[in-house]
């Protein structure tokens, strides 16, 4: 399905990245359009995280090329951004990403979706690392951002959680959103997954 450049949520032109004198990728160019699920692939140290940080706008130098962000985006990085001294509810309600003001009902529903029903008002330091990641993933249920950039979203998540998350990604893509994620595991989803190889560019 060919699309004009105006429709895409994110466009990348001639991206080259060099770290410590080693070229990680060069002349990377692609667009992310609504309904697209893009998996960034490559071995450890290939620059997957660096690419996602460049796409999100967190990395602002050290690379050449141009990234056009045409829509609000949600970025989940390696760190869960969950404060141990706050409860999951407070973590989401006062989140520093400043996305929207959610009411209690929305937050409870999102926490229930990630399997934290009953943990809403438990201090987060009593939760496990996997549960911290789940609190962070609850943001996906709340978010209205069309574009999601997820860096290794399945880390420390159990099998059931992975399946839930995969369903969520498909739903989001079906609603006209787009997802760019890095992961080493093969996605079992009921929609087309495009693979972006950092060495070879966009694969079918």
């Amino acid at each position: 399905m060919p699309q004009g450049p105006g429709d895409s949520l994110l466009a990348v032109y001639d991206l080259c990245l060099e770290r410590g004198g080693r070229e990680l990728f060069r002349d990377l160019a692609f667009e992310v359009s609504p309904g697209q699920l893009l998996q960034v692939d490559g071995p450890n140290g290939a620059g997957k995280t660096s690419l996602l940080r460049i796409l999100a706008g967190l990395s602002r130098y050290g690379f050449s090329g141009r990234v056009e962000r045409r829509t609000p985006l949600l970025y989940l990085g390696h760190h869960p951004a969950v404060k141990a001294l706050l409860t999951p509810r407070e973590n989401l309600a006062w989140h520093v990403a400043g996305e929207a003001a959610y009411n209690d009902g929305q937050i409870e529903e999102a926490l229930a979706r990630v399997g934290l029903y009953g943990y809403e008002d438990v201090p987060s330091h009593a939760l496990s690392a996997g549960q911290h990641r789940r609190v962070n993933l609850a943001r996906l249920y709340l978010s209205h951002c069309p574009l999601w950039l997820l860096d290794e979203p399945f880390t420390a998540i159990d099998k059931g959680g992975v399946a839930e998350l995969e369903t969520l990604l498909v739903e989001h893509v079906g609603r006209g959103g787009a997802v760019v994620l890095t992961s080493h595991q093969v996605l079992r989803v009921a929609c087309r997954v495009q693979v972006l190889s950092l060495t070879e560019g966009l694969l079918a």
Binding site: S59, H79, L86, E90, W94, E99, A100, A101, P146
Partner: protein
């Protein structure tokens, strides 16, 4: 139903951040108490080092109190962004649609409320212990209220520039102590004037002017520093 329309406005977001920072601090009260305790202990060092003669201590009191306030502010500056950097909250803050300038002001405001304001409020006790004359105590509180706000803002610059470094603690003092000096000069001069019975308002006005300048410019430097630190 676009996300932009739903995002809270900058002022509201600042209040959320302020509330978040204050809640975090209140849940670990020892962190609030530490600078005050530090203040009290260093006050006790001076009579031990300089001798207990009351009038001699009174002569040095404006400088002593100001230097200690400065040091306890310095020691806490390092922590303003550190835990947020370590758990990834900082990168989320940088991606927030609200202007970083104001978000940073909220962080610094919370830091000032927890250190500068409290220090200023307890300082009369230590002023009396060092025999500072009564009329000077009011000026001391006023100068600390204004001055520590400048210190928090300037300290935030150092914190932002060193937050990504493992060993930032000592470095931050190297970076920002020179910028603390004007505040120290005018802060202690205001208190000394009050001791001598000369009006101290000109000095307070100068500190207030510095505060205005710091509010206008420091958040720019802090925001730039945070972007660099998160990127490094």
């Amino acid at each position: 139903m676009s996300a932009v329309a739903q995002a809270p406005g900058p002022a509201r977001f600042c209040l959320v951040l302020l509330r978040r920072q204050l809640t975090l601090a209140v849940r670990r009260p020892i962190e609030i108490g530490n600078p005050l305790l530090f203040f009290a202990m260093v006050v006790a060092l001076f009579p031990l080092g300089l001798g207990p003669a009351p009038d001699q201590l009174a002569g040095f009191a404006p400088g002593i109190l100001w230097i200690i306030a400065l040091l306890s502010n310095l020691l806490t500056s390092d922590t303003v962004f550190r835990s947020d950097f370590e758990d990834g909250s900082l990168e989320q803050l940088l991606l927030a649609p609200q202007p970083l300038f104001l978000s940073v002001l909220a962080y610094i405001g919370a830091h000032w409320l927890l250190t500068g304001l409290l220090l200023a409020l307890v300082s009369p006790v230590f002023a009396l212990m060092l025999n500072l004359s009564a009329p000077a105590v009011g000026v001391l509180v006023a100068s600390l209220l204004l001055g520590t706000a400048v210190l928090s803002l300037v300290g935030g610059i150092g914190a932002a520039l060193t937050v990504g470094l493992k060993r930032g603690g000592m470095l931050i003092s190297l970076l920002i102590l020179p910028f603390y000096m004007p505040v120290l000069i005018f802060g202690s001069a205001a208190v000394r004037n009050a001791v001598l019975g000369i009006p101290a308002t000109p000095y307070l006005a100068i500190i207030a002017a510095m505060l205005c300048l710091a509010i206008a410019l420091a958040p720019l430097a802090i925001a730039a520093g945070l972007r660099i630190s998160v990127d490094a």
